[in-house]
């Protein structure tokens, strides 16, 4: 294990930035959710890397990574259900056109 911890952190930062760019620049609501998945994965890389590089006998990092898995699954299930429901009613998945609650 001759990889410095900072390599993992920089990789996670880059993945997070790419995900942020995807969330902010895409039109399609499904593509926005894809960007959110990238950001959640970046967080998970950080959690597991810190677990490995501090005290591997304490499982805090891995436990939180598993909880992030569960939250990501819940987020995708509800998010995609909402998108499909909106598509059924308004026949669009473009985030700009879903403006029913816009004042």
């Amino acid at each position: 294990m001759s990889i410095p911890l900072s390599w993992y952190l920089i990789l996670a930062a880059a993945l997070f930035s790419i995900g942020l760019f995807g969330v902010l620049s895409r039109k399609n609501a499904i593509a926005i959710l894809l960007g959110v998945e990238l950001m959640l994965n970046a967080v998970n890389i950080n959690l597991v890397a810190f677990w490995r590089y501090t005290d591997p006998a304490k499982m805090t990092g891995q436990v939180f990574a598993i909880i992030v898995f569960a939250v990501a699954a819940a987020e995708v299930a509800v998010g995609l259900a909402l998108i499909i429901s909106v598509y059924r009613r308004r026949n669009t998945v473009i985030a700009d056109e879903i403006d029913l609650m816009k004042w």
Binding site: M1, I3, P4, L5, S6, L9, I10, L11, A13, A14, L15, F16, S17, I18, G19, L20, F21, L24, S25, R26, K27, N28, I30, A31, L34, G35, E37, L38, N41, N44, I45, V48, R52, P56, A57, M59, T60, Q62, V63, F64, A65, I66, I67, F69, A70, V71, A72, A73, A74, A77, L80, A81, I83, I84, S85, Y87, R88, N91, V93, D96
Partner: protein
């Protein structure tokens, strides 16, 4: 440069390259497939970090469930968006600048911390990380409460997803 570092760099190139394709590719179904490649690279990273259980969970839950769900959603809603011109906003350069700024800021912070430059020691042979993980998830003086909250969250999310997606049948 050791073999570890070369494997890490290859894996990082896979992750970042396919993540870039996720956010810039035009066809949404291709973006979902590139997401699978990214998730697989992250699973390899977990294996390098000796978190074998998380690597398996990543493949089963993320690739097996979440990515497939994305592909289903793309197929159910694609008629509208099929290659209809650009898929990004006209002001896509603004988030690009923001992303580059955040990345450079984080890299400066990370490089500035001397504690982050060290390598990890070996995991002692007496420590069974998988056993510890299982015990931590169900032990009352560790993480049983977050674990149960996560399971209730999943249940509520799935019931809600079924209700929302099934539509109103009056």
């Amino acid at each position: 440069m050791t073999a570890d570092q070369i494997i890490f760099l290859l894996c990082a190139m896979l992750i970042l390259g396919s993540a870039l394709m996720v956010v810039i590719t035009r066809k949404l179904i291709h973006a979902a497939l590139w997401l699978v490649a990214t998730l697989f690279g992250v699973a390899i990273l977990y294996a390098i970090l000796q978190a074998g259980f998380l690597a398996v969970v990543q493949v089963v839950v993320y690739i097996g469930a979440i990515a497939v769900l994305f592909i289903f959603a793309v197929m159910l809603t694609r008629r509208e968006m099929l290659d209809k011109g650009v898929q990004t906003r006209s002001t896509w350069w603004l988030p690009a600048i923001l992303g580059v700024l955040i990345l450079t800021g984080l890299v400066f912070i990370i490089i500035g911390q001397p504690a982050f430059g060290r390598s990890a020691g070996e995991i002692p042979a007496s420590v069974d990380t998988l056993r510890n993980l299982g015990a931590a998830l169900v032990s009352p003086d560790a993480y049983v409460l977050p674990f149960e909250v996560a399971s209730i969250l999943l249940l509520a999310a799935l019931v809600g997803a079924v209700y929302v997606a099934s539509g109103n049948k009056k």
